[in-house]
């Protein structure tokens, strides 16, 4: 079965329909909402597979289906769908991972009173994300981009009765808005210089070579678009919202902050890659490198289970940006796909742990879950090894290898490459720490002591994701780079990275060993005990645990600035504008006074006389109103006869 590009809109339309159904369903209709959402996403998944088949028929083609939205003076605003291997692969990934997360959520959110809305929001999010992926117009993409932001706002703030959650939702929304402003400016600039926002349009779209050549390469446009990606993908310096967004329910974290939404930025950059000039790429590469390093460093000192994973996401997104910056968007997408699977796996595993441990998230208070939660442990360990880059068996290794390979081959600078290598060590280190703290040793809290394995609705997705995590690496190995060739038909595989591979294997082993040495050999006994790392370097650890004080920095600078501005505006309002308004009101009142006097003295007397006479006439008429319907009818008939006679006699015809 294949799906033609004209019907591509069905993929996002089905979850949207499910969202609508969920909205209209009565309160407490959890089952209806959930089953509709899952059914819709299943259909979307099947359709996506159909789209993939269509796309693979000719990987180099960009199938489009454009239409006019509305006419606008000289031109028209046109939207459209785009189908190429990138779109199709992303669609399959989003729908598949999303589906598993939906299924997981039926278990995780079962007891929540608002679970119905939850599925409604999830469907809305999936619809927006899929719309973003299939868009052939940057305008449509932007619309969906904002919808994704909205859905993430709703989902992060799902438990809005918790002040932290509400604050986190606001933070995420506002922070990403900063990036979106840049994106919007970039789009406007692009429209101004090319006159279209369609990506591919039979040679007229912005990515078609002719137009690209005409554009002549504008660094500013690329960087402005990159601003959007920085916001959405949590790149330095706008990464601060991502860890806070962990206040949402765990499936949300898995769906939005691991698999799909944060990937939107990377996807956007991959999509507009031809637009990016070498200068812009340098900025991107360094931003990515800094983010990768920063995220990994901070992750080492966090104690919240989900926060660690969140910072690891930041770090991995940095890898992807780095890959784009060094010119290998194919590697970025490869890493995006594998990361989506294993990070969703990790988050769902974390969700499983949290659900079982009665919402205990502090790794210091967990521990010893290896026994009671076997399935979760095994799958979580697979995810951890994939993220850490344990060689050969796990997909994370291959995709990370591809990124490092590309960074190594970059001509401009080797600094990003080295930053990547350091991040590899750190990644292996903090993941080892996490697993050791959570799964080994004794339970150190009430929640962990009474934990037990969850239902099949939660473990089944874990198993499937784990399987995918292992298998997915096979499509992008240096010996058989199917994915790379599919995405970019001009991709040349460069064999001979064996040395590099060996280096990274060693580094991974180093990270794992260090982690095990510090945390695994001597297991934590009490939840209050100090972290071994904190014992070695207390100040550095505190600095990292405070997330390098970015939040404080922003509060002290931007926050202060906006407070001052607000105070100014307030003063202006109170003292200047208010006076003007009051003056106008006084003026109006005075006019009214004058009017009233004139009315009462001059006009009213005349009106009184008139209405008196009208009343008298009415009284006279009302006497004719006898209430006898027969009489009325009689008069009508009589009048008719008289009229006709008059006409006949008077010779009116």
């Amino acid at each position: 079965m294949s799906l033609s590009v004209q019907l591509l809109w069905l993929i996002p339309a089905l979850p949207l329909l499910a969202a609508v159904v969920g909205t209209l369903a009565p309160r407490g209709e959890f089952k209806l909402s959930a089953s509709t959402a899952i059914a819709a996403l299943t259909l979307s998944f099947l359709l996506s597979c159909g789209a993939l088949i269509t796309a693979l028929a000719d990987p180099s083609a960009h199938l489009t289906s454009n239409f006019t939205w509305f006419d606008l003076g000289h031109g028209a605003v046109r939207l459209g769908w785009l189908l190429d291997p990138l779109t199709a692969l992303m669609c399959v990934m989003v729908t598949f991972v999303g589906l598993l997360i939906f299924v997981f959520s039926t278990g995780y959110m079962r007891d929540d009173a608002n679970a119905k809305q939850f599925f409604c929001f999830l469907s809305l999010f999936a619809a927006a994300m899929l719309g973003l992926i299939i868009a052939n117009s940057l305008l449509l993409l932007f619309v969906c981009w904002e919808l994704v932001g909205l859905a993430s706002y709703l989902l992060i703030g799902f438990w809005f009765h918790k002040p932290e959650a509400a604050a986190a939702a606001k933070k995420a929304f506002i922070t990403t808005r900063i990036g979106d402003l840049g994106l919007l400016l970039g789009l406007l600039w692009l429209y101004d210089s090319t006159g279209t926002l369609l990506l591919y349009d039979e040679g007229q779209g912005v990515l078609d070579p002719v137009v690209l050549a005409g554009l002549g390469g504008s660094t500013a446009i690329g960087l402005l678009i990159f601003c959007g990606a920085v916001g959405k993908s949590g790149q330095f310096p706008l990464h601060v919202w991502l860890p806070d967004a962990m206040e949402g329910p765990t499936p949300v974290s898995a769906l939005i902050h691991a698999a799909t939404m944060v990937a939107a930025g990377v996807f956007l950059m991959a999509r507009v890659f031809p637009l990016l000039t070498p200068d812009a790429l340098i900025v991107i590469a360094f931003t990515g490198a800094i983010t990768a390093l920063l995220g990994a460093l901070i992750a080492c000192a966090q104690s919240d289970l989900k926060r660690i994973l969140a910072f690891s996401t930041v770090s991995q997104l940095g890898y992807m940006m780095l890959a784009i910056g060094v010119g290998s968007w194919v590697a970025a997408i490869f890493h995006l796909l594998t990361h989506a699977f294993f990070k969703a796996l990790l988050f769902l595993g974390a969700g499983s742990v949290i659900h079982a441990a009665h919402h205990e998230q502090d790794i210091r208070a967990l521990g010893g879950l290896r026994g009671p939660m076997k399935t979760t442990f095994v799958t979580f360990a697979i995810g951890m090894m994939a993220l850490a880059g344990v060689p050969f068996l796990f997909s994370g290794f291959w995709s990370k290898e591809a990124v490092l390979h590309a960074a190594h081959g970059w001509g401009f600078s080797q600094i990003p490459f080295y930053a990547g290598l350091v991040a590899v060590v750190l990644t292996a280190f903090y993941m080892t720490r996490l697993v050791a703290e959570v799964f080994f040793g004794h339970p150190r809290g009430n929640g962990a002591a009474h934990a037990h394995e969850n239902t099949a609705a939660m473990t089944l997705p874990l198993g499937l994701l784990a399987a995918c995590t292992i298998l997915l690496g096979a499509i992008g190995t240096p010996w058989w780079p199917w994915l790379q060739r599919t995405l970019d038909p001009e991709f040349l595989s460069e064999p001979g990275g064996a040395g590099l591979m060996a280096t990274s294997i060693v580094l991974v082993a180093l990270g794992l060993g260090a982690g095990w040495a510090l945390y695994g050999r001597k297991l934590r006994q009490k939840s209050a005990a100090a972290d071994p790392l904190a014992v070695i370097a207390p100040r550095a650890f505190a600095f990292l645990a405070a997330r390098m004080k970015f939040d404080k920095l922003y509060a002290a600078t931007f926050g202060r600035l906006s407070d001052t501005l607000a105070a100014c505006a307030d003063a202006l309002d109170r003292h200047v504008w208010d006076g003007v308004v009051r003056l106008l009101a006084r003026l109006g009142r005075f006019t009214g006074l004058v009017n009233r006097e004139a009315d009462e003295e001059g006009l009213n007397a005349g009106f009184d006389a008139t209405s008196e006479s009208i009343r008298a006439t009415a009284k006279a008429y009302s006497r004719a109103h006898t209430g006898d319907a027969h009489g009325y009818l009689l008069m009508i008939a009589f009048g008719f006869v008289v009229l006709v006679f008059a006409v006949l006699v008077g010779g009116g015809r």
Partner: protein, 404 residues
């Protein structure tokens, strides 16, 4: 099969042959009379047969053999009780015809006659076979329902003319029921007319010819809106023909037979006959509108003449009526009207919307047709579930306590 084969045209040929003995000017009249006679005789004998079959089916459902004694008169041959209708008829005809003293004699007499007349009128537009339509009207469906609507008048006449308060009250209730269910009945037919684009019954049947993939007949009932419409039509037809579980108007056990209380003998038999005629006509309409009329279900079965297919489908539907009667208990009057107004009418309106979607998406091809199907089915299933919940809200399953 060939539309002009000898079997297919058989009835027409017989008619032409019979008419050919008459002079030219009388032929048209004689032909019409012949057709009318054929329809009336066919359905009168079907009525006789149905009374027997119904009793047999009910008996079988209750694990009894049913009437099986009366066979050929004056012999010992029983023939599964085939003579029963004859015996019943003789009994009915020889019973005393009682007219209450204060009854309105004229209306009392006119009521059964009018009912039967209107019931027979409805047969005029039903296509019994490829060439067998008594009257080809362009607005056939409208005619059918116009003539059907007039039966209410006869029911009222019967109730009022009896000068019996139970009769009158029951007649009013019957009217309320008939009017309530007229609405879903009509609304369930509208999608068919909309999709077929014609009000002519023959036209509607011809639209349902052909087979998808050469296998599935393109009857309306095999589409989502058609299935829903047929279900609504079926329920409403049950109510319109006063059949169980909607047989309140003549509930002998509780409501002393309603507007039929003061009728006996031949007039009662006429009522009975009219009810069965009405049922046959409604079933015939249901077959025409939803079940493909005289079309054969499978292409290789098309050699069987069309009127036989029509008859088979008609019989199936009638048997379904009996089956329902054998199964379901009688509704209360408030339940009955609530079902009509709060469930069937909204559902029929939703179905109208689905039919509109269907006709707008007629150009979807290939695999998307499955999507079209699913969307239509979902659009129907959702309201069905919600309306059903609303209908049964607050009603717990009844727990029966039996004496032990």
């Amino acid at each position: 099969m060939n539309a002009d084969s000898i079997l297919e045209r058989g009835p027409l040929l017989v008619r032409d042959w019979l008419v050919s003995f008459l002079p030219e000017p009388a032929r048209w009249l004689a032909g019409s009379l012949l057709a009318i006679t054929a329809v009336i005789v066919a359905f009168a004998s079907l009525f006789a047969l149905l009374t027997l079959i119904e009793r047999k089916v009910l008996a079988r459902v209750q694990n009894r053999p049913g009437p099986n004694r009366v066979g050929i008169p004056l012999t010992k041959i029983r023939l599964f009780g085939l003579g029963q209708p004859l015996a019943d008829g003789i009994k009915m005809l020889t019973k005393e015809d009682i007219v209450p003293r204060s009854a309105d004699r004229v209306l009392h007499f006119l009521a059964p006659v009018a009912l039967l007349a209107f019931a027979i009128l409805t047969f005029a537009v039903i296509p019994f076979g490829r060439h067998l339509v008594p009257v080809e009207l362009e607005a056939g469906v409208l005619y059918f329902f116009a003539a059907g609507a007039a039966t209410e008048l006869a029911v009222f006449m019967a109730g009022w003319a009896s000068r019996n308060k139970y009769s009158l009250l029951a007649a009013m209730r019957a009217l309320a029921q008939l009017i309530s269910y007229e609405l879903p009945l009509l609304l369930s037919v509208v999608p068919v007319v909309m999709l077929a684009g014609t009000l002519s019954t023959t036209g509607i049947v011809e639209r349902q010819g052909g087979w998808t993939f050469g296998l599935l007949p393109q009857w309306h009932v095999f589409t989502p809106w058609g299935a829903a419409g047929f279900a609504i039509f079926f329920v409403a037809a049950l109510a319109e023909s006063n059949r169980s579980p909607f047989d309140l108007p003549e509930a002998e056990s509780e409501l002393i037979a309603g507007h039929l209380t003061e009728y006996s003998g031949f007039k009662y038999a006429l009522f009975f006959m009219a009810e069965y005629f009405g049922m046959c006509a409604l079933c015939g309409m249901g077959v025409t509108l939803f079940l493909g009329g005289w079309q054969a279900p499978l292409s290789f079965l098309a050699f069987i003449p069309s009127y036989i297919w029509f008859g088979a489908k008609l019989m199936t539907l009638l048997l379904a009526f009996m089956w329902v009667r054998a199964t379901l208990p009688r509704l209360r009057i408030d339940q009955l009207t609530r079902l009509a107004w709060k469930f069937l009418v909204p559902l029929a309106l939703v179905n109208l919307g689905v039919a509109a979607f269907w006709s707008l998406s007629a150009d979807w091809t290939g695999a998307v047709r499955l999507t079209r199907w699913l969307i239509a089915a979902m659009l129907l299933a959702g309201p069905f579930v919600l309306l059903g919940r609303k209908l049964t809200a607050g009603l717990a399953p009844r727990i029966y306590r039996y004496a032990t």
